[in-house]
């Protein structure tokens, strides 16, 4: 019989019960339906002990493999020399090696010299980091910063920032829904699900044009109940690489304002998309300029290559400083039972880099180089496709897309062909990571794409 504390739903449970034995407990009582939880080894030591019930975790199923991380695992297992990993969302050099920015190495060595202690940060994180990150995002001269209207909390990269915001939405806007783009980064749905915030999708990707379904997007945002939260990718949309134009951003802001929606930006690629920090923040700044209250989640995983340090921030632009104080205090209250206070190392790196003019300049340069390399491979891929594909198909969408990813327009079967026949690893939605592509491999990739597109349905 299962423990009273829970119900066992697994089909294995009845099999376990059938195998169960009776053990006489220390008090001479028979206990039926119990699994004997002792081995011969320690039998003598637990003579006095009573049998353990069926495991309380019997009903815990194996979780499905992560679609994105599973790609890398499959890639590692492949022995073929031609293999190419275009699943990974992390930047690679032309030699397809991971890249630690020089400026980050410098910052770390500087930190080692300084020998600072490892005391707990306050719940809201490192003050120097919070100041730097808000200024980077909004511009140091932005009135919202000068007026103290931004609540900023250092948090666990983009994911952690989104999660804090989601938890805040659940607590203070329990009736509200979040609108997310179709498609979007896979983890967005998990975050809102686990935070128990309802969500629905707005049209975004148009497979016919391999571009933005702008009318669909506007219509769906319009149709949502007033006061919904609209999740927007600040730049370099993941997974499509398709961003609205400045004019389209204005129209998106119009409809959001009209519907009293709350704009909620996910900014994971500032500086990494175009190469310019300011340009990549222009969508966020546009909304802020209109006097709207805005949520913005930031990540330094890609633009400073700090992936595993988990450094980012949640920013909430409020109508007044005292509002920002209240909001900040409640975000802290949500963070405390999640992780108490955020990890210090990545925050110090960012603060050191941004705080030193020379290092900041170096960073901007390295970021331009990373973005530049991606633009170059886009161009080369486009050139290769155009040259090799005799069908006259227009591949220029590759040049219009921006950032680390490109939606190729390949469907699942075609994507499978990329992997099975060509040993090119990508996600099944047709997304390739250009960060994992070298100039040297562009022609091979072009061959594979052309083959998959035309010969496989």
């Amino acid at each position: 019989m299962a423990s009273a504390a829970f119900t066992v739903s697994s089909p294995a449970a009845s099999a376990v019960a059938a195998r169960s034995k009776v053990l006489r407990g220390g008090k001479g009582e028979a206990r039926t339906g119990c699994r004997v939880g002792i081995t011969r080894k320690n039998f003598s030591r637990v003579m006095m002990a009573v049998a353990v019930d069926i495991s309380r975790f019997e009903g815990v199923p194996m979780a499905p493999p992560d679609p994105i991380l599973g790609v890398s695992e499959a890639f590692r297992a492949d022995k073929n020399d031609l293999k190419l990993n275009l699943g990974v969302g992390a930047y690679r050099t032309e030699e397809l090696q991971p890249y630690v920015l020089n400026v980050v190495k410098k910052a770390e060595n500087l930190m080692l010299e300084k020998g600072e202690n490892k005391e707990y940060l306050p719940i809201e994180g490192l003050a120097a980091f919070n100041k730097a990150t808000a200024e980077l995002l909004f511009g140091a001269d932005n009135p919202v910063i000068k007026q103290g209207r931004v609540a900023t909390l250092q948090s666990l990269s983009g994911t952690g920032s989104l999660r804090l915001a989601a938890a805040f939405i659940q607590r203070y806007f329990p009736e509200a829904k979040v609108l997310i783009s179709s498609p979007t980064w896979g983890n967005h749905k998990n975050i809102f699900n686990d935070a128990r915030v309802p969500w629905s999708e707005y049209r975004y990707y148009d497979p016919k044009t391999v571009g933005l379904d702008f009318e669909g997007m506007i219509a769906d945002i319009q149709a949502a109940p007033d006061g919904s939260f609209v999740l927007l990718h600040g730049c370099a949309h993941n997974p499509t690489g398709i961003d609205p134009t400045p004019e389209q951003w204005e129209k998106i802001a119009d409809v959001i304002q009209e519907k009293k929606h709350m704009p909620f930006f996910d900014v994971a690629y500032q500086g990494f998309a175009s190469g310019s920090l300011d340009e990549d923040a222009s969508s966020v700044r546009l909304f802020v300029e209109r006097g709207l209250e805005v949520f913005v989640a930031q990540s330094y995983s890609k633009n400073l290559g700090l992936y595993a340090e988990r450094i980012g921030a949640i920013n909430v632009v409020c109508s007044a400083p005292e509002v920002a104080n209240r909001v900040k205090s409640q975000l802290k209250r949500l963070a405390r039972p999640m992780y108490s206070n955020p990890p210090i190392h990545g925050a110090r790196i960012v603060a050191n880099v941004v705080g030193d003019p020379a290092m900041f300049g170096e960073w901007k340069q390295e970021m331009e180089e990373m973005a530049g390399r991606i633009k170059n491979v886009r161009q080369k891929l486009y050139d290769s496709l155009s040259a090799k594909d005799k069908s006259g198909k227009d591949w220029s969408f590759i040049l219009r897309q921006i950032g680390m990813f490109s939606y190729t327009g390949l469907n699942k079967t075609q994507s499978d062909n990329m992997t099975d026949k060509w040993h090119i690893y990508m996600t099944k939605d047709g997304r390739i990571s250009l960060a994992g592509l070298s100039l040297a491999k562009c022609e091979y990739l072009a061959d594979a794409i052309i083959d998959s597109f035309h010969n496989v349905s």
Partner: protein, 428 residues
């Protein structure tokens, strides 16, 4: 200019929104209904201490280790590990479950180097955001897979325990723990609550150096608790935040866990490297759950990862590198053991000194509990009013529950502290 705060507060009380200053060009705030959170009581102590200009001020509210000069400490083994890390390794994402190396070493510490459970791969374990993160993952796991369960939490406990299980939406109960009259363990009360709880209840146990009381069960008492848990089929969840830091010997500090493992319990365990490795701000920890068999451990781990993924995707790498470098290198590990013993010894020494000072001052009260209790904290038994007097008259800062952080006591201030405590308690 901005509306005065009183008017804004009045508007909020009526459920309206405080209007933005005109120059902000903002709409009325959507956050009008968001109340300011209450101030954290512990942080408030630190803030008040920092603001105090008195040269005599003493901070015994702090929950972080201090050396005999009252300074924060970075262990030598940690500095060396960092030297090896700096600028060298890349920063690729860890797997969702965190660093395998760090997990392996953590399990050896908690379950024993030669643990059969490790050999049999029966432990589902993930790297977690220090002790808090480990507890939260477990609480969320409990909610998701054992939705009818609740957690029994000792009275008193670290206040964030309540926040964690509350935010995870797991109902909580308390069980008797501290005995104020003796400043020790209310063992009879504890056993009663264990017996009276419904079969199969979850219990949060502090593996060693109970926070905030410093009161731990004896080995014999742990054995009895374990036996009763078997009778009741309770599930023990150990929060082990001070392994090595309590007695100076990590093996000894894990004794309660080893007893429960011997008795066949399938435990959960939260480990933290904040205090014993001084990695506070790095947020390095581990959550483990002992399962039936390897297959189940794989399934449980996969589900823990599913919970972590929408919280922070994967855990921070830096602290885990420090931990695994130290624990994997025999010399560094040996240095760590020496340093953690040094910290524990200093605290034990200060306990002794504080008690002796009080006795020498002729205090009419018994202060045995200072040396009976263990770990960073001492539950002094002082009342809030007495604590207030300590602060107001002597510039001594601590939490109002009478908890003294022994880490803040030094050879330089122990006499002053003893004198002040004597003064406010002698007329009791």
């Amino acid at each position: 200019m901005a509306m005065c705060s009183r008017a804004a507060a009045a508007i909020r009380r009526r459920g309206g929104v405080a209007l933005a200053p005109p120059h902000a060009r903002a709409m009325a705030s959507l956050f009008g209904h968001v109340e300011p959170a209450p101030k954290d009581p512990i942080l408030g102590v630190t803030e008040a201490f920092l603001a105090d200009p008195s040269p005599d001020k003493v901070n015994v509210g702090v929950g972080a280790y201090r050396d005999d000069n009252g300074q924060p400490v970075v262990l030598d083994c940690v500095r060396e590990a960092e030297r090896r890390i700096a600028g060298n390794l890349n920063m690729e994402y860890l797997p969702m479950g965190g660093s395998i190396k760090m997990i392996d070493e953590s399990l050896k510490l908690a379950y024993g180097e030669d643990s059969e459970f490790i050999k049999d791969k029966r432990i589902a374990a993930v790297q977690a955001l220090s002790g808090t993160g480990a507890c939260r993952l477990f609480a969320d796991f409990q909610r998701r897979f054992l939705p009818d369960s609740q957690i029994y939490i000792p009275t008193p406990t670290w206040s964030n325990h309540h926040n964690i299980w509350r935010d995870a939406q797991v109902p909580q109960r308390t069980f008797t723990y501290y005995h104020p009259e003796s400043r020790g363990l209310d063992f009879a009360g504890l056993m009663d609550d264990v017996k009276n709880a419904p079969n199969g209840s979850f219990f949060l146990l502090h593996a060693c150096a109970h926070n905030p009381t410093g009161v731990d069960p004896t080995e014999e008492q742990w054995r009895e608790i374990s036996y009763q848990f078997k009778v009741k089929n309770h599930i023990p969840f150990f929060d082990m935040a001070y392994q090595g830091f309590a007695s100076g010997d990590p093996e000894r500090d894990a004794k309660a866990i080893r007893i429960f493992l011997e008795d066949g319990h399938q435990i959960g365990c939260a480990q933290s490297y904040a205090k014993n490795m001084g990695l506070y701000g790095q947020r390095a920890g581990c959550l483990s759950i002992l399962c039936e068999d390897e297959m189940q451990a794989v399934a449980v781990k996969s589900q823990l990862q599913q919970i972590a993924r929408p919280m922070y995707s994967n855990p921070p790498v830096h602290g885990s590198l420090v931990v695994s470098i130290i624990l994997n290198d025999p010399e560094l590990k040996s240095l760590w053991l020496k340093e953690v013993k040094g910290m524990a010894d200093r605290i034990i020494g200060m306990r002794k000194a504080l008690k002796e000072n009080l006795e020498q001052l002729g205090s009419p009260l018994s202060w045995d509990h200072i040396t009976n209790q263990i770990g960073m904290f001492c539950y002094s038994g002082m009342t809030p009013e007495q604590v207030d007097r300590l602060t107001n008259e002597y510039h001594i800062y601590m939490t109002r529950n009478g908890r003294i952080s022994m880490a803040g006591v030094t050879t330089g201030n122990v006499a002053y502290l003893a004198n002040a405590i004597h003064e406010v308690t002698k007329t009791k």
